[in-house]
């Protein structure tokens, strides 16, 4: 029962991230919404699996998977946003400040 609650919360966050990836106007902002919501959503689903299986082979396997998922998604987002900047995509027209431009010179 408690695992179903965790999985429902996770899918709700995934849905929010998905709406964000469709609606937001700019590559950088899409990455913002998508990374946070989808990472927390999938971690929550995996926690639900831990509560369902208990302390068994599947449970410990999922406990190993959570740190890998966390590091993979955050480092992937960091590398993608840096690559996007170097590729030459400008910040959106609503943006107000850009300190990184001075640092590259």
């Amino acid at each position: 029962m408690i695992s179903l609650i965790f999985i429902t919360i996770g899918i709700l966050f995934n849905l929010l991230g998905c709406i964000g990836i469709i609606r937001l106007p700019d590559t950088y902002n899409r990455l913002q919404a998508a990374t946070k919501c989808v990472t927390l959503g999938c971690c929550s689903i995996l926690l639900g699996v831990v509560f369902h299986f208990g302390f068994s082979d599947a449970g410990t396997k999922v406990l190993v998977a959570i740190p890998i998922l966390f590091f993979a998604s955050t480092v992937g987002a960091h590398a993608l946003i840096r690559g996007t900047y170097h590729f030459g995509i400008k910040l959106g027209n609503k943006s107000v400040k850009d300190d990184y431009k001075d640092a590259l010179k």
Partner: protein, 145 residues
């Protein structure tokens, strides 16, 4: 600064060993779960590709690695052929003869010679995929000069 940023380098230090161990897990349990030699070999090659991407040629000297990896690949192929033909020595003449005791279904050491095939096929696949990656990199660096 060679390679990618500091964040990627430090995370590679923490996670590279984990990815290698996971590849070995998939290879060693190849006769009990889905996966096996090919999938595990791809994951093992992935850990080396991750280090090469993150550090440049700080740790792995690219041209030297290419020679060493070729040797590992050839050795693994020869071992697979040797195990396959060694069934000739025991009884009937069957290629891929399973001559070792079978063991109990579901244990780690069971299924005769299948784990040995898995291990050497995994080594071979890891070496060849890593060598494809290295060849592409060396080709690009030489062609752009």
């Amino acid at each position: 600064m060679k390679g990618m940023t500091l964040i990627v380098k430090k995370t590679t230090q923490l996670i590279g060993g984990m990815i290698f161990m996971y590849g070995i897990y998939v290879v060693a349990h190849g006769h009990l779960t889905p996966g096996g030699g090919f999938a595990g070999g791809v994951i093992i090659a992935g850990s080396f590709i991750l280090i090469t991407l993150a550090y440049g040629d700080d740790f792995l000297k690219l041209v030297g690695e290419k020679a060493g990896t070729t040797m590992v690949e050839s050795f693994a192929t020869i071992m697979v052929i040797l195990i396959a033909t060694s069934g000739f020595l025991f009884g009937t003449r069957i290629f891929f003869n399973n001559f070792l005791p079978k063991g109990v279904v579901g244990h780690l050491v069971s299924a005769g010679v299948l784990p040995l095939y898995n291990i050497f096929v995994g080594t071979e696949v890891a070496a060849s995929i890593f060598i494809i990656f290295l060849s592409l990199i060396i080709f690009k660096e030489e062609s752009s000069k």
